[in-house]
């Protein structure tokens, strides 16, 4: 049962947050920062790995800004607004993990841009914002899918795959909210 079909928004939010807790525990796999075992075997993580993590960090920081734009647009109504803020929270967690991991591996983490170019003039309704967010999440799934095979360190690949799963859930739920088939195909590319 979709939480979008639950008449009581509070119940829908509780259901969503309860379920997303499962995803967050999966993302805990990515908590390489603080994982001293990884630091000890970080020879498997080369310069490419740091660059991959930094590129992902840049995209996560942009996603945080995009959801902030959506949240402040006054176009989102509850419970969709709560949903956007929850997804933004996930991206903040991803960014935090990526930043700490880059630094643990001796790299310099990228910073959020002072400003981002978003198609603000095209965002006139809640559906526009949801479509915009869905495109970003779909792209994020593809980006992580394209990054996972590149990691020299398999623990990092596993962590990136954990984030990929979370982004895919975001995409599916946004599509559901738009009245589209939530999972349009058996495979992602």
């Amino acid at each position: 049962m979709s939480f979008f079909h639950i008449p009581n928004p509070a119940a829908a939010r509780r259901l969503f947050l309860g379920r997303s807790g499962l995803a967050l525990s999966g993302a805990a796999v990515a908590l390489l920062a603080g994982n001293e075992a990884l630091a000890a075997k970080s020879e498997g993580a080369g310069l490419n790995d740091v660059q991959i993590l930094n590129t992902a960090l840049g995209a996560e920081l942009e996603a945080i800004a995009a959801y902030q734009l959506g949240a402040e647009s006054k176009l989102l109504q509850k419970p969709v607004l709560d949903l956007a803020l929850t997804f933004q929270g996930h991206h903040k967690e991803h960014a935090d993990v990526l930043r700490k991991t880059v630094e643990k591996l001796g790299g310099k983490s990228v910073l959020a841009k002072a400003t981002y170019n978003f198609p603000v003039d095209q965002l006139k309704s809640q559906a526009d914002v949801l479509k915009f967010a869905a495109k970003l999440e779909q792209g994020a799934v593809s980006a992580y899918l394209g990054a996972v095979p590149l990691f020299g360190n398999r623990d990092l690949a596993k962590a990136a795959a954990s984030i990929l799963g979370d982004e895919a859930m975001h995409w599916a739920i946004l599509r559901q909210a738009l009245g589209e088939v939530p999972v349009p195909s058996a495979f992602m590319s």
Partner: protein
């Protein structure tokens, strides 16, 4: 003989897609993979794609490129794009485009066809060459 003809026909059918003209509509679908980082008309994690063809790599004003890209001396055209998209890190180690690549030649051809078509749209044409 009849069996040979059938086999020949099947072989031709199987070969047909490889020779098919690049499909920009399908390429637009492939482009969704790029949209985590790129947009046509503005810079994001990756640089804009308006003005791509004929552009020297690493030359969009104000975009923070990797050193590898800035020093690559690549000019983007069908050939260089096809090579780069196949395996970006193999063609250009050190690039920030840490993406495994678009493995299917047809996907790449369609994607490049879409990018060409998109560069002819008003969204891209509005941008003066100096701003691209």
């Amino acid at each position: 003989m009849r069996r040979l003809m059938v086999a020949g026909t099947l072989a031709l059918c199987a070969a047909a897609p490889a020779g098919a003209a690049p499909d920009p509509v399908r390429g637009e679908q492939v482009y969704t993979r790029c949209m985590a980082c790129h947009a046509l008309a503005f810079d994001r994690v990756g640089p804009r794609h308006c003005g791509l063809f004929g552009r020297v790599a690493g030359s969009v004003p104000g975009f923070d490129y990797s050193t590898a890209m800035k020093n690559s001396h690549i000019t983007w055209n069908d050939t260089t794009l096809d090579r780069f998209l196949t395996q970006p890190l193999k063609m250009l180690p050190g690039t920030s485009m840490t993406y495994d690549g678009v493995a299917d030649p047809k996907d790449r051809a369609d994607l490049i066809a879409y990018l060409k078509l998109a560069n002819e749209t008003l969204e891209c044409r509005k941008r003066a060459p100096a701003n691209q």
